[in-house]
């Protein structure tokens, strides 16, 4: 083959060249066949993904209304910048930072954080940027591939009412929550306490999706296929609560700079009219872009503002327990309204139990009126010595004290109404005696309740002996306008008779007109049935209690107030309850000196508590 004749050369060579050309053609044909026919299923979706962007459309979160239709919690638009780290070119960092009006290092750090969430999915880079920054970024999106924008919303509180513990707040879902739920998206805010948490599934609504045509720079070019694939978001359901905005606003004002819990309840329905735990926190500072230093401050505050005292605090009810003791004693047949006991100034049983009431003969009415301890020590002594402890415990629990009331708020805590099981587990089997039970009679010792429980119990005195289910939400209004009522149950407490109830109520009416209550609490033309109490506190100033319902003969409101480290209930708790009752029943406050007294009242501080120990 070394030397080739020219003519044959042409013939041979042309074959070789033809083969080369045909081979090249066949390879290319095979290649496009492979790409377009065999791998079509691979590339077709790729090109779809390229040119289509699915955007999640957040639904408007449901609103929260008070009982009269006033909006307590609404939504306010906030502007968010998002980033898809994989598509973002770090060389654009200076441009992005200057548009955001932020330091490059801050932006860079935040981008790194988003990379840890997901490299390929859009994460929120900065939320709540100003509208100016937002529109600057929007105009420059074409030179910032991977950067996006969103209009979201944050919670806004249009009235002065914060009801921070009742409404709760939203926080970004954690990684775990995101992984457990197919509904929650990364970076999405979900209810973290209060109603926002309990009714999360109603409030959140259903997210929608929107398909948008985009070009290689990520610019959107309008809806895909005229939006035929889009799923419209469904707005969250609204909550219609039982709160009364005006009452709540006043309650929050009166509880400022105090510590304690307050629950006002509609005695016939169990609807919460007002619920305050002091100190409060400001939910506006947790809405939208969270104020981190504020949040850390809340968590390290020695007065624990995030703690909902109104449903979680557990304190001995003190003398506010006496009306319920009386009803139990009457039912058990140990006492009668007429029966009298001589009070020498103390009760003797193994040791002396002191009584601040004057010596003399006491019937039930007088015992309640002057809050005589002797009468109730005697009563508890009889209950204990006749082996009726468990029966007694059951009767008291019927009022809503002790076990959970299952209010529609998170972190409610049960109280303690001891029975033999409880005593055995605390002291050991049969290692306790009557002496350990005596103080229960006057609401001290192991018995402990929350303000909510006292409010529910007070409601049952007000409504003729019915156990109400305390609740925050009266109705849920679906986005289509359909209203579901919660209709909580009301149960008659069978063993309470109207006659017995009248004796106790009369005793409370008289008690209210005694001493401090009379001065701080009495409202002209409104009869109140109330009872003060003081929970002994070994760690500092006593906690003051007050329970009341009014008007005494036609109750509209039942209330329980607990004031921590504030001494006598009559001075600390009574005026607050009284002002709330006055405002609720008359629409205004006509006793400015009482209002001023409350506003200037300060509980013992933590330092003082510490010094006393």
């Amino acid at each position: 083959m070394g030397k080739r004749n020219h003519i044959e050369n042409s013939k041979g060579s042309i074959k070789v060249l033809q083969i080369i050309v045909i081979t090249g053609f066949v390879i290319m044909l095979a290649r496009i066949f492979h790409l377009q026919i065999i791998d079509y299923e691979t590339y077709s979706p790729l090109s779809m993904q390229n040119s289509l962007r699915m955007e999640v459309v957040s639904p408007a979160r449901g609103l929260i209304y008070d009982r009269n239709g006033v909006i307590i919690v609404e939504n306010q638009p906030i502007y968010t910048i998002t980033i898809t780290p994989s598509r973002f070119n770090m060389e654009k960092l200076p441009l992005l930072s200057s548009l955001l009006q932020m330091d490059e290092s801050i932006v860079e750090n935040r981008i790194k954080e988003t990379q840890q969430y997901s490299w390929y999915r859009a994460s929120r880079l900065f939320t709540e940027v100003s509208i100016e920054v937002f529109s600057n970024i929007q105009e420059n999106l074409w030179q910032l591939p991977g950067v996006g924008h969103l209009i979201e919303s944050k919670r806004n509180y249009p009235t002065s009412v914060r009801a921070s513990h009742a409404n709760g707040y939203l926080r970004e879902a954690t990684r775990e929550e995101y992984q457990l739920s197919d509904r929650i998206r990364l970076g999405e805010k979900i209810g973290r306490s209060g109603l926002e948490m309990i009714y999360e599934d109603y409030l959140s609504g259903e997210t929608g999706t929107e398909y948008i045509r985009v070009n290689a720079y990520g610019q959107s070019l309008g809806p895909y296929d005229n939006g035929s694939l889009n799923v419209t978001p469904v707005k969250g359901a609204d909550l219609i609560t039982t709160l009364d905005v005006e009452l709540q606003a006043l309650a929050e004002e009166l509880m400022e700079n105090k510590r304690g819990g307050l629950v006002a309840i509609d005695p016939y329905t169990g609807g919460i009219l007002s619920i305050v735990s002091a100190p409060q926190f400001d939910p506006t500072r947790l809405a939208g872009r969270m104020d981190q230093s504020y949040w850390q401050g809340l968590n390290s505050d020695p007065y624990t503002p995030l703690y909902n005292r109104s449903i979680s605090s557990r304190q001995p009810p003190g003398s506010t327990f006496k009306p319920f003791m009386a009803l139990a004693g009457l039912y058990l047949g140990i006492i009668t309204p007429e029966w009298e006991l001589y009070n020498p100034g103390y009760y003797q049983r193994g040791r002396r139990y002191n009584d601040l009431a004057d010596p003399g003969n006491y019937n039930l009415h007088k015992s309640l009126e002057y809050s005589s301890n002797t009468y109730f020590f005697w009563l508890m002594d009889r209950i204990a010595s006749r082996g009726l402890l468990n029966e007694w415990s059951k009767l008291i629990k019927d009022f809503g004290m002790g076990p959970l009331n299952n209010i529609d708020l998170p972190s409610e805590r049960a109280g303690i109404i001891p029975d033999s099981t409880y005593m055995n587990s605390t002291f050991g089997e049969n290692r306790w005696g009557i002496g350990d039970l005596m103080s229960l009679g006057i609401g001290q010792g192991m018995v402990s309740v929350s303000p909510l429980q006292m409010a529910v119990a007070t409601a049952s005195l007000a409504n003729g002996g019915n156990r109400v289910q305390p609740h925050m939400v009266r109705a849920i209004r679906e986005p289509d306008g359909e209203i579901q009522y919660t209709n909580p149950a009301i149960n008659k407490i069978e063993w309470i008779t109207p006659e017995n109830l009248k004796v106790v109520t009369d005793g409370m009416k008289s008690a209210f007109l005694q001493g401090g209550s009379n001065y701080y609490g009495r409202i002209p033309d409104i009869e109140i049935a109330g009872k003060t109490g003081t929970a002994q506190n070994p760690h500092g100033e006593d906690h003051g209690w007050f329970i009341a319902f009014a008007p005494a003969d036609d109750p509209q409101i039942a209330i329980a107030v607990l004031m921590e480290n504030s001494g006598f209930g009559s001075v600390s708790a009574t005026p607050i309850a009284s002002l709330l009752i006055e405002h609720y029943l008359t629409g205004s406050i006509n006793r400015p000196h009482i209002y001023d007294h409350v506003m200037n009242f300060r509980p013992q501080t933590e330092d003082e508590v510490g010094n006393e120990e």
Partner: protein, 417 residues
Amino acid sequence: MLQDKREFRWSVILIWIALFSFGLTAIYSATQGEVSQFLPAYILDNFYKQAVWIGISTMMLVAIQFIPPRTFQEGAYIFYLICIILMILTLFFGVEVSGSKSWLRIGPLNLQTGEITKIATILAAASYLTSRRDVTAENLKPALMTVLIFAIPIILLLLQNEAGVAIVYIGILPVVLFWSGLPYGISAFMVSPAVIGYFTVLDWKLGVIATIVMAIVIFLLQKRVWLTITSIAFGFLVIIGTEVALHQVLQPHQRARVESFANPTLDPLGAGWNVLQAKTAIGSGGLQGKGFMEGTQTQLRFLPEQWTDFIFCVVGEEFGFIGASILLILFALLFLLLLSMAATHKHPFAQIVIVSVTFLYFIHFLVNIGSATALFPIIGIPLPFISYGGSAFLTNTILLAICLNLDFNKRSLSIYR
């Protein structure tokens, strides 16, 4: 001009018209569709500029038919000399466009001198080889001279930073020499570095296999031990050279650019982006394509240079496998027609010119579509008659016109042999 007009290769003209129509359609879609809003203004004119160039080229094609065929052979050296001077001038006075200095402004014309020099080089090499005895294994001097004729423009192109065009010259050279009698074995030896280099980029082990296979082929063709040994030695030099270049000389991003055709997912947003988008465009076209001006990859600006280097993606996406394979068939027909013209011609000058032109088109075809379909690393050269580009279209048309002229006048030319 005594021949019957029916002997003119009208079929070639028909294919030429079909190809540039295809091209104009694709350029129109690539620049005038929805995508136009994302393109700079000067790109929007490309369609109209191309139409004007097609008009000019058509006139050239007709005019060339009236030139006596001998002129091409006789004037080849002078033309070659002029072109080389123009290229040198370009090097000093040229206009720089996106990193390469390949444009020379002559009056109102912007000329890509490297394109015109293709014509000159082919004619000069053909002219030279025609005047010599055949190349043989014993007499390689004409072969070396031919290499020199090619080497000058190649060096100038490399200096202009036009490596893509240089590759085309390098590709034609073995074909020209092979046609002129260079033994099969030595021809295979000339091609082997490209083959071995290609496989080495994929995987050095494949490079070794390619070296061994090529050595066996060369031995079977030539039965010369020294040639076989040299080919093995060369093969390993290529492998080592390629590996060193990839891992030591090139920066990681440059290396990624070379390797990304084989594995675009290594760096899907960097070097692999173009490869991935090009494959996606073609692949998502499916059998029937998305329709004229309906390609999302094309219209939403996912393709780079879609009016030139990536024009095949536009065809693939919008006209599907049917459209793309029609285009391939048109090219194959053109190549085979040209080769048959060469085969039936009796004059070696005409043969060498036609074969060179065929392979010039073929290499463009292979490299351009190979780049778009990720068979090869992305080498930016246009698809003949399809891609936007006036100088290239004119050059390719002139070359075609010369082939047609030589073919039409084959009887009058053959006397001179």
